[in-house]
Symmetry: C2
Subunit: 237 residues, 2 copies
């Protein structure tokens, strides 16, 4: 919260969520916002661009910044939201079981993360219990040269919080793949499959701000409890 335009963005997000600006209506004009926040138009425009990218508004030339109806959007799994953030937003009771927390040498994963073939990786296997059912199985591989120490306690609470806030690593972007695959013996052991013979698999390669790949995650979901919601802008060809 130090950049002016990010601050303005957050303030406007809060106002929209409070219902200060009704969906379908418009925000104050850029000129008005300049006066209100005592700043230049370009700074306001940067804040509005952020709002637009995250699906809060649609800018219409000559009219203004139309507020979009985010109610139907439900929760966005998109954008690298962690399990903890997610379940907190859903307001459901949740629990994490740590099944494995070891240092391994997996050549294939190393190759994918562009790190030394023989270097150590943290392997973390966790199941996620929501409403009394274990419905998500997370397998994480993290570069040990970047995350030196890892405890069961950290794995149980929030890995992302530890990495970002304690270690100060700058998680920046990820490429993500969603497919459906048959269940494995591991799925059967750690999940309450409830008769399902397939799971939704989300594989993510997570990168830091300096473009070093540092984490590979495989998140396996029971199909009936899986939902992915996305807001996408069409990039003109």
């Amino acid at each position: 919260m130090k950049n002016k335009y990010v601050e303005i963005y957050h303030k406007l997000v809060k106002d929209i969520q409070k219902g200060e600006y009704a969906a379908g209506g418009t925000l104050p004009s850029e000129h008005d916002l300049c006066a209100r926040f005592e700043t230049s138009r370009e700074t306001i425009r940067k804040a509005l661009t952020l709002l637009s990218q995250n699906g809060y508004i649609q800018k219409v030339r000559g009219k203004g910044s139309v507020v979009l109806d985010r109610d139907k959007f439900e929760f966005p799994v998109s954008g690298l939201t962690s399990f903890k953030e997610l379940s907190e937003r859903l307001g459901q009771s949740f629990q994490t079981h740590v099944h494995e927390l070891t240092l391994v040498k997996e050549a294939e994963v190393c190759r994918q993360l562009n790190c030394q073939e023989g270097s150590h990786l943290w392997k973390v296997v966790r199941s996620r219990e929501i409403g009394g059912e274990r419905i998500i199985l997370d397998k994480d591989f993290l570069r040990q040269d970047l995350v030196h120490d890892l405890t069961k306690d950290i794995a149980e609470t929030s890995l992302y919080h530890y990495i970002e806030n304690e270690l100060g690593l700058d998680i920046s972007f990820a490429k993500k793949e969603i497919v459906v695959e048959p269940v494995t013996v591991e799925d059967e052991e750690f999940l309450d499959l409830n008769g399902h013979d397939q799971v939704v698999v989300i594989r993510s390669y997570v990168y830091l701000g300096d473009t070093t790949a540092f984490q590979f995650t495989e998140s396996r979901h029971r199909p009936d409890k899986f939902q992915f919601v996305d807001f996408a802008r069409r990039t003109k060809v």
Copy 2:
């Protein structure tokens, strides 16, 4: 192709795809690009912002614009790409079967699209055949007041091309949901399910640039042929 920064963006995308700039290396500095394209730094920065948003580069302060490795990204289903664009990019033989093309009045869909309760909607049901197998079932609802005429020929080739290029409608953004559901009798009729009893369902609400909702699409995929690839930047909270 009229805006300077969009033109520069496309030129740089082409150069990256040609391998002009190797993954892991950097683009020329903003200062250099200014000279090269004979423009101001802000204009260059707008082009670079587009590259960053679409996963081509990562800007690192003090270093430069690092080119990302998009090879592993495979095809992005994200960002509202149509079936035709998709299969063309995959280079596979494909075929579209039109099963229904009618004008209907569906109150529920009307409500979702914020249009008059009794207004007419185009209902289009199509199956998609790739490599000899019918693996996708698309059900589209379009507002007839915006898309007056629709023919079987258009539905067979490309709806998006017709809407954008022929009608000149400005498709701007969509909210999209991915879930897994049991197969319906319709799925069994129009798809080669190959024993599968569940399908991946993508529901999309598509909006125009002036924020009018005009299309609802339900795309039902056979699980083993489904893949969703995404590039996501972490929005700092």
